[in-house]
Symmetry: D2
Subunit: 339 residues, 4 copies
């Protein structure tokens, strides 16, 4: 941590800051400059709460060097983490994994069809929402537990592990019983109690980036899960909120290579929620793979025009099949390219 | 809802859209223009799911006129709602209410001192966090239930109702037992299950705007609570996330007069979290009152320099006292001004 | 400047960074920590170009302490600047100044009426655009030089100095001839050549904040003008671009007290462009004054419903007159409050 | 255009809106709904100024369907535009074009070396800035006209057309004399007078997206150039400003496929300014190509560690050479993939 003093800070003020830092059990190292003095803070083992310092007289700014996470950092854990989801491996050195399926679980027919189509196209994990986070209470909220059973049966029939979103702690038992992976949605990325609880489980977790979460906050959210003992976390970039409204969100693809250097956790991309527009999904899915994503989450519906939710961003089976073929060829090409 | 067709959309495509809308039980009214055709959708009772329409051939854009909320809207409920918190009334026509106190409950001494100081200065409600949402898991997480007891005792001793944040559903019982008002924090504004549960209670709720929530989403979140039967909701603007980092958040004060016309619910402002800087708090608190806020939430700590959390944005008792005096005079002045 | 090294940076890498800094004529002071080393850079007289350093092996981050401006900073120039515009004084200790008038100069009748109404209500400066920056080329672009003459005549007839926007360097001569103050619009805040040219003049300048300009960039833009010798600059907050679309922009009112401490230049607020909605203008104008603005820029049109531009955010003469009365009372009240 | 009335709007208010629209020479078509009435506006030939309507009593909202551009739209001009820059063709069906070179022109040696290296690696156009837009006035501002001569000579010696940024209208003559393509930087995207002047020339123009420009504003800026007669415009996505600060900007790659459907103009990507970090440039360059970019603008410096500007985001000759090889292979692969 670096404490920057005001231009006109007095020696007494500088000494007072030094004393405060030392009272916290840390070391303070003044660095006098030509225009102002800065004070380096040393010996801290992690993020230092700065509020007691920021308000001291003469202090202009406090600059943090340490981050609010450590377990998820590649700096401290250089080896890549591979997350196994019902036999499907996600992470460095593994083939890119595609999670496909509809936004919402609607009927048995729909999910069984979706599962068969995902499997036939080469998808490895089936998705489907039983509990849906909707902006307003008057929209379809999902089938709940009945939906979970449909999802599990459809996955088993097709031979695919399944992932579904969890929205409240009381649902964890029943969801763990029916699903192979737990999804934490963007709106719950900082639902810290939910993070702590999934951290106590042994289930793999798909953690979506919050709509306006910085990379630092995203990794700190994952840190909550790892801190409780569960390191089976897959990160998912799904677009951030910006001023641009021509797409549903703004897909922040640079985050993929960046997080690959910052963290050992796998990172996948959801081009469906990021763009909100079906014609953009395949092209951004390709780009995500090229940017280094360990996998993709793609919305696919047997009949998108009848979807109860997010139909406009869902591929149909034909589009999904075409995309899967393309992704396979792209991956093979990338392996050659980097050889 | 308005469906805008492409420039080159064919008559068949226009007819197909019309048929789809009518199959949803709604009325479709084509409006041919010189450059393109638009189709008005009528007879809907609320927000219409547009995914089945957006993907039809020839459709360029779907524009919503209805909103994902209705119960919170002043359009449908013109009379202002007054929320009573332990005898303190918040809303149109009432004196502005100041909620004061520390970010976190730390010790008995601290909370009792804070309560006395808030009361002495003229504050009406005491705040204090027992369960704290922190970016990373390695920061102080709050005293939990032990903190709740301290808060309640401090409030009772000083004669102040108390408000505290709830982060998980299982905490609702114990928090309701100890607190007069439940706070839903910015990070949980779209924790819809939590919203539904507090909607089933009779306790007043302080709902903070999410960091990147639009006004529409903010009101739709409140709709979740009202839809379950609890209309004792106070909205709170606490700054939004923007590119500007000189302040902790960007205080969006225009939201105050805007929400006053859009909704019948009271709206208060939290200048402490919005600015993150103590010297800005009093001036923005004054401005908020002038903008029409029904109240304020202000962080105050008996000894900010020793605060475990948010010390840099907390007023000290003297600063709080000065602010309260100023607010009283401002309110009196505003009453004269608008007479 | 502080250079933060990677956790695993070698002694050789640290030494290489030290050497590079010293080769730039600066002093390097390593600060070894328990987890990583940081290197303080001293003796720089201003902002240091960091690109040669950021790419050295082992460097994780470069943190700047110096700012890209100095002349505008209160740190180096504590005394407040008062800007005189045709006898009207703007700045600390002066009465708040209201600049009123229409978005565009349309006709002689309109401008003379506007000027009389602004004057009658107590406004001190007349505004009106002769050259208009419009999003698309097919919208009304302003009357040009003919408009300037109308503006000057209207101002003279009413006894008001006038301000108008300059969009290109070749217009400077003719605008200086007709106007008392030059406005640099938000879209040109980083049109650095234009800034340099107005910096060579003796005319006062109204510099509007760019739509997505940080405070640092805003002050650095003003620095361009002062660096050329013209320190008669008034800053103007007019809302920033965020995800929220319920208002035209998001009025960032916290910037007012913040800039008052950071810079000696006066700062005024434009609630018309910030909100884009007439009913919000008076209330946000009041709030701006309470937040410490040295003045306001308010759009007023004799007949807003016939305005060629921005009618929806313009007050009518009656609304403007009411606002002026309120502002006068608020100012008097504020003077008492802070006594 | 659609005018949405308030829930309680009276018949008189609806009639008054209808009258106003008709007075503008347009047709008004009321669409009564179950909850409120909307009024469709027809027969307009383009964007309608809405300020006279928005403020009428009973009007809740005005929704635009027309856009502030037409000439750039693929809706009205389906055939793709190919822009020829000194014999290099950019656009649909052409090989992706790479513009390489340093941020700033520094010396003859540097530019000649850069030109040779760009050429040797297979780059088609040379870039280099003679006039530099810098945040503050105390940073290096470029070599000016002396730099232009160096750039032209280096380009000629290597057999490469050259592009350089223009910042003021008076520079146009001398820049046209020395450069094959004019660049309008992000900060000048809405410098409308500059756009109009380059629109009167016959030189090709590289128009960079403004830092917070929507796609609509970006295309409307291009419309300014086309409206004056110059349709040789290449668009360039270079990242937008968001809350995320881990990268210099947020690369909005979805804009590439989106603009390809919205406009007939070519679109290229600048991964150097978008990310601001050298290690991210090659991977995002690859992703941009896969997303459909017609070309790339990549910063390359013979010795990045000595660059006067943007060294940290510049590739060295080796990295640039490697990238060019990869891009060639990617393009060949994409051609096969889509066959």
């Amino acid at each position: 941590m670096l404490i920057v003093m005001h231009h006109h800070a007095t020696d007494e003020q500088i000494q007072a800051v030094k004393n405060t830092v030392e009272a916290m059990g840390l070391r303070a190292e003044p660095i006098p400059g030509s225009m102002r003095t800065a004070i380096g803070v040393l010996d801290n083992q992690g993020y230092v709460e700065d509020s007691t310092i920021r308000e001291l007289p003469g202090v202009r700014e406090v600059i943090h060097v340490s981050k609010p996470y450590k377990l998820v950092s590649r700096d401290f854990h250089p080896q890549a983490t591979i997350v196994d989801v019902g036999g499907v491996r996600i992470g460095d050195g593994e083939a890119a994994v595609v999670i496909g399926g509809p936004c919402s679980i609607e009927t048995e027919e729909q999910m069984h069809a979706a599962a068969r189509q995902v499997k036939a196209a080469g998808g490895q994990i089936l998705r489907g929402g039983a509990f849906k986070p909707r902006t307003g209470p008057h929209s379809f909220q999902g089938l709940g537990v009945a939906g979970l059973k449909i999802l599990r049966d459809a996955g088993q029939a097709a031979g695919l592990p399944v992932v579904t979103e969890v929205m409240r702690i009381e649902q964890l038992d029943v969801i763990c019983e029916h699903a192979d992976m737990l999804q934490i949605g963007a709106r719950n990325m900082q639902n810290f109690d939910l993070l702590k609880e999934v951290g106590k489980l042994d289930h793999p977790v798909l953690l979506k980036r919050g709509m306006s979460a910085t990379i630092e906050e995203f990794l700190a959210a994952a840190e909550y899960i790892l801190a409780e003992g569960n390191n089976r976390v897959v990160l998912c970039e799904r677009g951030i909120r910006t001023f641009e409204k021509a797409t549903r969100n703004t897909l922040d693809l640079s985050v993929v290579p960046l997080i690959r250097t910052m963290s050992h956790l796998p990172i996948i991309v959801d081009p469906s929620h990021a763009t909100g527009k079906r014609p953009l999904v395949p092209v951004m899915a390709r780009a995500a793979l090229v940017a280094g994503a360990h996998g993709l989450m793609v919305e696919m519906h047997p009949e998108p025009e009848k979807a109860l939710c997010d139909g406009a961003q869902s591929l149909d089976p034909e589009g999904f099949g075409k995309l899967m073929k393309d992704l396979g060829r792209i991956e093979k090409f990338l392996a050659e390219l980097d050889n």
